[in-house]
């Protein structure tokens, strides 16, 4: 689906208001909708003022980790005489997530505006948008918009006659999931393999091209123009104290109305699944939901009355991640689903850390064997131990990303695994 469904919940469409409206794509159309006024206002503010208002809004990174955006910006050194870079992470690759591409496709100028405001806040004169390689169509819209904005004087030298200058480059990746990890992204941007590097150095110390860099998600940056225009209080009217604002939701799986939605943070997850998305097409009960993209922990059908905030999802034993629930009805084979998820991460592991390189593919092979009916009960113990061995010991969190769904599926659906075991082996086991 290409734009958010209308639904009967209380809806606050800040980001997705113009999605589905082709006029918003062009510079002229965007100007007609009040575009680039936020940028004009931001250029009139000092970098610190911009950072402060974003800090006050409580905006948290929408790429999955939920780190406060204003705080991240404040880590950038001041007056260090070095070039600074803003990298917009548009390498949206998390299975289940498809929100950033919609922003790029329908409102590229919103993203450009957000990038420029972010660049101003961190003292950058050059912003990059790193777009996932497979986003051919979206990249076309984005580069067309950037060209238009350059020609219209909204990017480049002396933006809108204010005397402030900033360049913006669209860079496409080659389709590696790991290029969405911020240091992997910067390595890829620099022409290296998209391999995450061990921090320190942190991006704010030495990031892209060895210079202080901030990496922000598409949705995060696209939220910034609204906050700059309307103020922090306007933004905090939605959501909770720790999770203010609204969030795009990418709902997929066994749903009557899958697709993109925008909700105020904090509404119950079950409302999203059953009311907005209409529940399962089969009418059967929901067996499991992976709420935040495939790297988050499984919730069972009984655990869906949780609050869709960063803290609420954590309380429920999972995480908000990229807010991309994958819904599975009663007939879903959890072992097969988990095997498929693990295959994805094994395929996308960059191969630096041994726990991830060997661990992910080992997990896949065990799961394949269990799925084929050749498993043994002790495989479950081995899987648990591999979870332990793969957690928190690697450069980035890709290995952990397998562990969250794997461990939770073992915890919550152990019976399904056991039922797949070879009967002869179960009997002696």
């Amino acid at each position: 689906m290409s734009f958010p469904h209308r639904h009967d919940l209380e809806t606050t469409t800040l980001l997705s208001r113009h999605q589905g409206d082709e006029t918003a794509r062009s510079l002229e159309g965007w100007r007609g909708l009040g575009g680039y006024e936020a940028l004009r206002k931001a250029i009139g503010m000092s970098p610190d003022e911009i950072t402060e208002v974003v800090k006050a809004s409580g905006l948290r990174g929408r790429g999955g980790a939920g780190f406060p955006t204003g705080l991240k910006w404040s880590f950038m050194p001041k007056d260090d005489g070095k070039p600074h870079y803003l990298c917009c992470n548009a390498d949206e690759s998390e299975p289940g997530a498809f929100k950033d591409r919609e922003i790029i496709r329908w409102t590229p100028h919103l993203l450009i505006e957000g990038c420029l405001i972010g660049a101003r806040a961190i003292g950058s004169a050059h912003a990059y948008i790193y777009v996932r390689g497979e986003f051919f169509e979206d990249t076309r819209y984005l580069t067309a918009a950037v060209t238009e904005a350059y020609e219209g004087g909204y990017i480049g030298d002396d933006i809108m006659g204010t005397g402030w200058s900033c360049d913006l480059t669209v860079h496409t990746g080659a389709g590696a999931y790991i290029a969405g990890e911020e240091t992997g992204l910067m390595n890829s941007l620099m022409g290296n393999r998209a391999e995450p590097w061990a921090k320190p150095p942190f991006p704010a110390q030495a990031g892209a091209f060895g210079m202080p860099t901030t990496v922000n998600n598409v949705e995060t940056l696209s939220t910034v123009p609204g906050i700059v225009t309307e103020g922090a209080d306007w933004y905090t009217q939605w959501g909770t104290e720790k999770s203010p604002g609204t969030k795009l939701w990418c709902c997929s799986g066994h749903l009557v109305r899958p697709g993109n939605y925008e909700f105020e943070l904090g509404i119950p997850l079950e409302d999203i699944i059953f009311e907005a998305c209409g529940g399962t097409p089969s009418g059967k009960p929901v067996k499991a939901v992976i709420p935040g993209g495939s790297s988050t922990a499984f919730l069972t059908g009984d655990e869906l009355d949780c609050s869709t905030t960063y803290e609420g999802m954590q309380e429920a034993g999972s995480s908000l991640g990229t807010a991309s629930p994958i819904v599975m009805d009663e007939d879903t084979d959890i072992v097969a689903a988990m095997r498929r998820i693990a295959q994805f991460y094994a395929h996308e592991s960059c191969g630096q850390c041994v726990q991830c390189r060997e661990g992910t593919s080992w997990v896949v092979r065990i799961l394949q064997r269990i799925e084929a009916g050749d498993g043994e009960l002790k495989d479950i113990d081995t899987l648990y131990e591999l979870c332990e061995q793969m957690t928190g010991r690697t450069i980035c969190v890709l290995a952990d990303s397998v562990v969250f769904p794997l461990r939770s599926s073992l915890d919550k659906f152990r019976g399904e695994y056991e039922a797949r075991m070879s009967p002869s082996l179960v009997a002696v086991g």
């Binding site: 590696a176 790991i178 393999r193 391999e195 590097w197 061990a198 320190p200 094994a346 395929h347 996308e348 592991s349 960059c350 191969g351 630096q352 850390c353 041994v354 726990q355 991830c356 390189r357 060997e358 661990g359 992910t360 593919s361 080992w362 092979r365 065990i366 064997r369 043994e376 495989d379 081995t382 061995q389 928190g392 010991r393 690697t394 450069i395």
Partner: protein, 533 residues
């Protein structure tokens, strides 16, 4: 780590021992100072980049939630590090388990067995059983360079080889291809690995993934003896270890010396010495009887030569020495030449293309492809291009010069013609006496490199037949001529060098040590020879 300014010192505790190190020191290096070697794969002290990707050197730091890679972790004041806590050991054990998942465990046919960091740590972590219940991934074997094989199954993707080429040799020919569990080492498409220093990637490989083709299946590590030595391939004098098996040189490996070659050596040096295993050696003393050389024993040979020296009367004699002769050999030749009234000592130097390792300025394959050109000059020998013209009836002494370019009658009219050599070239058959001597690999001694660093080498092989070290032979000959006592100790031989030649004054065999010592006045003379071109 010296950059001119004094660095602040920090004090930390590693495994219960307090140690003070300069700020910026990494924990893995600080640990070595207290005698703790943190297991590592991707870290190599000679490679500047530290990706911290093997996760083997993870250590526990008090107050930090996660284990930290000690290769990148900077030592800080009051840091308390446990390199072998339960958590750290468990993590390390799991790294080994993961590394072994797809490792073929073909140690019985692997050339690295016995010198393999994976094998070592697998034993240390005592993992006798594998939990792997699936077939291993098979990747096969490839050739990354003309002379280097790559066994992909054994590779643990530490990327030392890639980073040596990229960051030390500054020739980014190697890459990691593919990713995840399919990753392997390869050359860039359309590019070949062809670098004069590429052999070092075999040395840095912590497992048996990269192997020199001329070494493959040749020797088990426990069947080889290792001897500290100096590469005689050029005037750089790289510190090396000579690996021998059954009295043959099997391979050379670089030996760390920060003042000469760091951790590296060039491929020319690595290969050319192995060739010396070949060829026919002079093995018995011989004296000329009725115009033909006849084998004899040392007593008779030396008596005969002493007589020849006593009887010599011709003027304008010549001495031709090999530029690979040791300082001791030449020094002990000098009194003999004095007795023969020979004042012209010459040596020739074969030359070749130069090659430099960009990040280690001193390490170059120098044009002069000999070990001791500078040392010979210090002792009064003169470098020449051509063999000297011989005066009729004048004495001629040759010390292991193979007399290339000489015609068959060379030296036939010399009187006497004494040939000390490792081999017997055609012209040497004109000699009145042939004394078989040892190659540098068959004895102890010193060479002085291009910048005046005198360095020790040690005996790696047994000399063939009756061949003996030149200095030993000469000292016995001199004793017969009433010039001092016979020497059987290299220390005493070097003392003679130090006592005779001003630049060596004050040095002793022991004080030279294994890292060499600069002779006095080195540098001024060396400057003119520095580039070797």
């Amino acid at each position: 780590m010296t950059n001119g300014e004094a660095k602040r010192a920090v004090t930390l505790t590693i495994d219960g021992t307090e140690i003070t190190v300069p700020q910026g020191t990494r924990v893995i290096e600080a640990a070595e100072r207290v005698g703790v070697v943190v297991p590592r794969y991707c870290y190599h002290p000679g490679i500047p980049t530290r990706p911290a990707q093997c996760r083997m050197c993870l250590v526990e730091v008090e107050g930090r939630p996660k284990l930290e890679p000690s290769c990148t972790l900077q030592a800080q004041d009051e840091m308390v590090v446990h390199t072998a806590s339960d958590t750290a050991e468990k993590a390390r054990q799991s790294v080994i388990e993961f590394l072994l998942v797809n490792h073929p465990l073909d140690c019985p046919i692997c050339d690295a067995a016995g010198q393999c960091m994976l094998q070592d740590y697998a034993y240390v972590t005592n993992q006798l059983e594998s939990r792997l219940n699936e077939p291993k991934q098979v990747m096969g074997r490839d050739r990354v360079a003309d002379d280097i094989l790559y066994f992909a199954d054994r590779c643990i993707i530490c990327t030392r080889c890639v980073r040596f080429m990229r960051d030390v040799a500054e020739d980014d020919a190697l890459i990691v291809a593919q990713r995840g569990h399919k990753a392997y080492i390869d050359t860039f498409p359309g590019r070949e690995l062809d670098n004069p220093f590429q052999g070092n990637i075999v040395d840095v490989c912590p497992v048996g993934a990269l192997v020199h083709e001329d070494f493959v299946f040749k020797a088990r590590s426990w069947d080889m003896d290792a001897t500290t030595s100096i590469c005689p391939g050029c005037t750089t004098g790289c510190n090396v270890t000579i690996d021998t098996k059954e009295n043959q040189i099997v391979r050379l490996k670089p030996r760390y010396n920060p003042d000469v070659n760091s951790y590296w050596m060039c491929d020319h040096g690595r290969k050319h010495l192995v060739m010396t295993n070949r060829g026919v050696r002079a093995e018995v003393p011989m004296v000329s009887v009725d115009g033909a050389l006849q084998p004899t024993d040392w007593e008779r040979a030396l008596d005969h030569v002493a007589d020849l020296v006593d009887d010599a009367s011709g003027a304008n004699g010549a001495a031709i020495v090999s530029a690979n002769a040791s300082n001791e050999d030449l020094l002990l030749l000098l009194p003999l030449l004095g007795r023969l009234d020979v004042s012209s000592i010459v040596f020739r130097v074969p030359t070749g293309e130069t090659a430099a390792l960009p990040t280690v300025p001193k390490l170059q394959l120098r044009a002069d492809r000999v070990a001791n050109a500078y040392g010979l000059e210090l002792l009064g020998a003169e470098r020449v291009e051509e063999l000297p013209a011989l005066a009729e009836g004048a004495p001629l002494v040759v010390l292991d010069d193979l007399l290339e370019g000489a015609d068959e009658s060379f030296g036939a009219t010399a009187s006497p013609f004494i040939y000390l050599g490792t081999r017997l070239p055609a012209a040497a058959r004109n000699a009145d006496a042939v004394l078989p001597i040892a190659t540098f690999a068959e004895m102890d001694g010193t060479f002085t490199n291009f910048e005046g660093r005198v360095q020790r080498f040690h005996q790696a092989l047994t000399p063939p037949g009756l061949a003996r070290p030149g200095w030993m032979v000469l000292s016995r000959l001199l004793a017969r001529l009433g010039e001092g006592d016979p020497l059987s100790d290299i220390g005493a031989a070097f003392d003679r060098v130090a006592g005779t030649s001003e630049p060596y004054a004050g040095l002793t065999w022991d004080s030279i040590g294994l890292k060499g010592a600069l002779v006095s006045g080195a540098g001024a003379t060396a400057a003119s020879m520095g580039s070797g071109s």
